[in-house]
Symmetry: C2
Subunit: 225 residues, 2 copies
């Protein structure tokens, strides 16, 4: 479902060239649950942004459902981002001036749902992450872990078949983390694909396959069956 062929991305800072991604080739099949680990700055978020069609590589190919993403028109890309992919950002990226419920409902506006449907589906997603009682709070009226969970609910609300989660439990206590892991487990058992960046081995243990990155390259790729 996700395939990269010699994917590279560099940034130029004055005289220096930073290789964020260095010829990455990997394949992820439909229905897999993959964890990505690696040191700070090793390229994990950069790779996730390319998977999520939020950024494009400098060289190499990215195939999503066997289609070359760089050759798709913007309308197709927008639809893929809205209907097929749910993205949990490392820094949440919630809109500050609207409530948690409205933030979660945002993808449903693009999906053409009416107001009543949006309210129902958004409240359902918030309930799944334990935040039905915070629906009317704006992001600055929520704790760090609550904002993180609103970002997770927003990624799930349109029932996408691919979940891309960048450090989804970085701000959560053990009990709340377990609840999110159970939710992801359920989504995975429904046949969906999950790619999750995490720095915690306990969290990575929920996945079937762990890829580690170092300096923009893949260092190890281990499936535990």
């Amino acid at each position: 479902i996700i395939q990269t062929i010699e994917l590279s991305k560099s940034y130029q800072m004055g005289q220096e060239i930073i290789k964020a991604l260095d010829e990455i080739s990997l394949s992820i099949n439909k229905g897999e649950y993959v964890a990505i680990m690696g040191p700070s700055g090793s390229g994990k978020s950069t790779l996730m942004n390319i998977f999520g069609c939020l950024d494009s590589p400098q060289s190499g190919t990215y195939l999503l459902n066997q289609k070359n993403v760089s050759q798709l028109p913007e309308n197709d890309l927008a639809m893929i981002r809205n209907e097929e992919i749910g993205f949990v950002f490392q820094t949440f990226n919630l809109l500050p001036r609207i409530s948690a419920l409205e933030n979660v409902a945002l993808p449903l506006i693009y999906a053409g749902k009416n107001k009543k449907q949006r309210h129902k589906m958004a409240l359902n997603a918030l309930t799944q992450v334990g935040l039905a009682n915070r629906a009317s709070h704006k992001p600055n009226e929520l704790s760090g872990g609550q904002r993180q969970r609103v970002a997770i609910a927003r990624a799930l609300v349109n029932s996408p078949s691919i979940i891309l989660a960048d450090e989804p439990t970085g701000n959560l206590d053990t009990k709340t983390s377990d609840e999110i892991m159970q939710l992801f487990e359920q989504i995975h058992q429904n046949g969906n694909t999950i790619v999750m960046v995490t720095h915690e081995t306990d969290i990575a243990a929920h996945a079937q396959r762990v890829i580690t990155m170092v300096d923009g390259r893949i260092s190890t790729d281990v499936s535990n069956g």
Copy 2:
């Protein structure tokens, strides 16, 4: 050095009253290294913001170095925040339009250091968190864990005697976390006071005392000598 007497803080949301802090009484002595743990939404960041003189309680008393903070004039508070306390925010709070080096140097402007001193001290702090080679990057040109480390460097640059760190390793891999813990250990051995919110027991194990909060109250308070 830090003492609270029946500290309370509530938020009113429509008809509902949310007790973020519910009559918290505790004392932290000079030179202690304390970890604060607890579920998402239990009041940890709210308590830390009051410790850091960034927020005020609704009722109860906060004594910092035996002075009642609520009775101090704003100038005194600003000086305390700048010289005595180093605060690492859960959401980093870096200024987006200036570089990592300039972000770290910011507290030194208030402290009256000249340009040459600021550059030297800021570069030193960045080196301590492993980011000397990212000094010229703006926050959006940094990874999540790099931004977190810039926030840590900024908190340390003025050598404050009290470090308040809210989830300082939430976005860091194990190796980088260990480096930050060694840095904190050094700061603690120099006689400074550290209060650190964390959701990871491995990180809390570096402290001498662990306080857990539940629903705005202190649930357990254990010193391991």
